[in-house]
């Protein structure tokens, strides 16, 4: 009795696992055969660009570009460079307009190889989240890995902007945007000078993580020049788990908040409710109303033109207020 019920279940699990194994093999085969069919060789005029994997030659001003990086998409939108494909399901409000016009190519973590095959892009641009898929993508078309160093967001962001200006023959536009951000950064540095220390906190479903100068949000300390209230925070991609007592003890003059709950509510609202407690209320930052909410783009599209402008403008406004 038990056995008769058990067997089909075991068999179906076995069958499922076999099926999924087959599926994997198939995709590998198809991408391998494509290397020989389409080839990643570059023909026509090329331009030399700096990528995370060193200097490389890519076709100049390619017309069919697929982008797996929100900061790049941000830059190309600002430079008015048309994009053929991108992962569409990303919540960066100011990119929605561009995303509506492109072909969907999967997600940042899982590029849709079939869709890419059909699109036959002349250039694929990727960064951090898609970087592990470099080999698969490079077999399909010339692929630029634009992962930033993680140490100098604004510097890297501007270099990236210059690269795209050169690559897409939009040098003048890129230079103008570059100068705008440079000026904005200088103004922000000016107003932030001597206004006290800062602490970068990520709020996620009621829990806090702290980020230090060497983290991906460290540009607030290193570029804008707000001294860190705690200089010992080690670098870690997801920050250091801290308690509310830590905020009280660190007692920063400014708190920069990344609201990770924003995806399911109004940006900043949930984080505000979490921070509103007896311990955080004792900090100088809360008493002076020195809480600056960073845009959700600061982790989704870090280093893009619009992201840098938005966050610098917000920070500048907070310091001048």
């Amino acid at each position: 009795m038990f056995k008769s019920c058990w067997k089909p279940l075991a068999l179906s699990i076995l069958a499922l696992s076999l099926l999924s194994a087959c599926g994997e093999k198939n995709t590998q085969n198809s991408s391998a055969s494509n290397t020989t069919a389409s080839g990643a060789a570059v023909s026509g005029p090329t331009v030399s660009v700096n990528t995370a994997r060193g200097e490389m030659n890519v076709p100049e001003n390619p017309s069919k570009v697929v982008v797996f990086d929100m900061a790049t998409l941000d830059d190309l939108q600002a430079l008015k460079v048309p994009v053929t494909g991108a992962p569409k399901k990303v919540l960066v409000p100011y990119l929605q307009q561009t995303l509506e016009t492109v072909n969907n190519t999967g997600t940042l973590f899982e590029p849709d190889m079939e869709a890419l095959n059909a699109l036959k892009p002349q250039l694929i641009i990727i960064a951090g989240r898609t970087a592990p898929k470099y080999d698969e993508l490079a077999a399909l078309a010339p692929t630029m890995d634009m992962t930033d160093s993680g140490q100098d967001l604004i510097g890297d962001g501007m270099k990236m902007l210059d690269t795209y200006g050169k690559l897409f023959k939009k040098e003048a536009e890129a230079k103008k945007l570059h100068d705008d951000i440079q000026n904005l950064l200088a103004e922000t540095q000016q107003v932030a000078k001597g206004k006290g220390t800062g602490l970068i906190l990520m709020v996620n479903a009621g829990k806090l993580s702290a980020f230090g100068p060497s983290s991906r949000f460290g540009w607030i300390h290193t570029q804008v020049g707000v001294p860190a209230a705690d200089t010992n925070i080690p670098a870690s991609p997801h920050g250091q788990s801290v308690s509310f007592e830590y905020v009280q003890k660190t007692n920063p003059d400014w708190i920069f908040v990344i609201d990770r709950t924003a995806a399911i509510g109004e940006e900043g609202k949930t984080a505000q409710a979490v921070l509103n407690n007896d311990l955080v209320r004792q900090s100088k930052a809360w008493k002076e109303n020195h809480i600056v909410y960073l845009s959700s783009a600061s982790y989704l599209a870090a280093g893009g033109v619009q992201q840098m402008k938005t966050d610098l403008t917000n920070i500048k406004a907070a310091f001048t207020h």
């Binding site: 250091q240 788990s241 830590y246 009280q248 003890k249 709950t261 399911i264 007896d278 311990l279």
Partner: protein
């Protein structure tokens, strides 16, 4: 063989000691001598330290009890809320309510999580009934697969709704966010543990199976539902307030039963006390390794718990005393 009274004596001695250590450490400065003279220290104690320590005690005690109830009622030594899909279903419940009603209160989230956890466990029971009862390892194995399937579903929804980061919080438990006013739901789990204590003997009989229960005058279905509901509620409340803490419901009841045999009513206080103490120790470790930052307690307990679990697995089974 120890008597449960001996185990209790050790644990009762340990508990206040650990409680004092737990209250003494933390990011902010705290000295016991200032408690009566300094109002800031006093408010730190009442607002942050005491709630955190109480939350740990409640969570540790009730998760261990929940694991024990599952083990007795389903007659399998290797079960706990993680392995019957309860934790994963609870996370599914909170995720759904968070997406649809982001402004929902903790109580509403907890209710939703409890209901989904109950549904998830009921579904597992249907699977469970079809498994050969003498294959002890088969059941937790299927349970792990079942839990992973639900977790995969939760992750899929997370990817689709851009809420993956929230899930990380519920799948990894820690007490860093506990403050007065943000943990009180956990007292409900204490209530559940009391209910279990009063029904302990009847639950033990229910664990002997439907036929024996009925002939002994116990309503089997009713007992089954009560145990499932209490386990679902304990799991859901813990997941909502602190997140998932694996292994505690598995390891603690096993240690107690190895030391003192299988007697639900007598062992229940030992299990609760040992669960509380074990979690207190792990949370203290998590706070002193890298101050003022914290290592999530689920990570510490995961490491410690895995080692104990492997030890239990590889040790020759002892003859169960009654």
């Amino acid at each position: 063989m120890f008597r449960s009274s001996q185990i209790n004596a050790i644990n009762i001695l340990l508990l206040p000691l650990l409680l004092i250590i737990s209250i003494s450490i933390g990011a902010a400065a705290f000295h016991w001598s200032d408690v009566f003279s300094n109002s800031d220290t006093r408010s730190l104690l009442i607002y942050s330290r005491l709630p955190r320590s109480l939350a740990i005690i409640l969570t540790g005690a009730t998760l261990a009890v929940a694991g024990m109830v599952l083990q007795i009622v389903l007659r399998n030594r290797f079960l706990e809320p993680n392995m019957v899909g309860a934790t994963q279903s609870a996370a599914l419940g909170i995720l759904l309510v968070s997406i649809w009603f982001p402004q929902a209160t903790q109580l509403a989230k907890m209710s939703c999580a409890s209901i989904v956890a109950l549904l998830g466990m009921t579904l597992f029971l249907f699977l469970f009934r079809r498994l050969p009862p003498h294959r002890q390892m088969m059941i937790p194995l299927i349970g792990i697969i079942y839990g992973s399937i639900i977790e995969a579903l939760v992750n899929f929804i997370g990817v689709e709704t851009n809420t993956l980061q929230l899930l990380a919080v519920w799948f990894a438990g820690d007490f860093s966010a506990v403050l007065a006013g943000r943990y009180e739901l956990l007292w409900l789990t204490g209530l559940m543990a009391l209910v279990i204590y009063f029904l302990a003997d009847r639950l033990t009989i229910a664990g002997l199976g439907q036929n024996i229960s009925t002939s002994l005058g116990i309503n089997y279905a009713q007992m089954m539902w009560i145990s499932l509901i209490t386990v679902a509620m304990i799991t859901a409340i813990v997941v909502v307030t602190v997140g998932q803490i694996p292994f505690i419901g598995l390891v603690v009841p096993n240690i107690v039963s190895r030391l003192a045999g299988d007697r639900l009513r007598q062992n229940l206080p030992s299990v609760a006390l040992m669960g509380a103490n074990a979690l207190l120790v792990c949370d203290i470790i998590g706070r002193i390794i890298d101050p003022p930052y914290e290592i999530p307690v689920s990570l510490i307990f995961g490491i410690v718990g895995t080692m104990i679990f492997l030890y239990l697995l590889f040790r020759k089974p002892t003859v169960h005393a009654t």
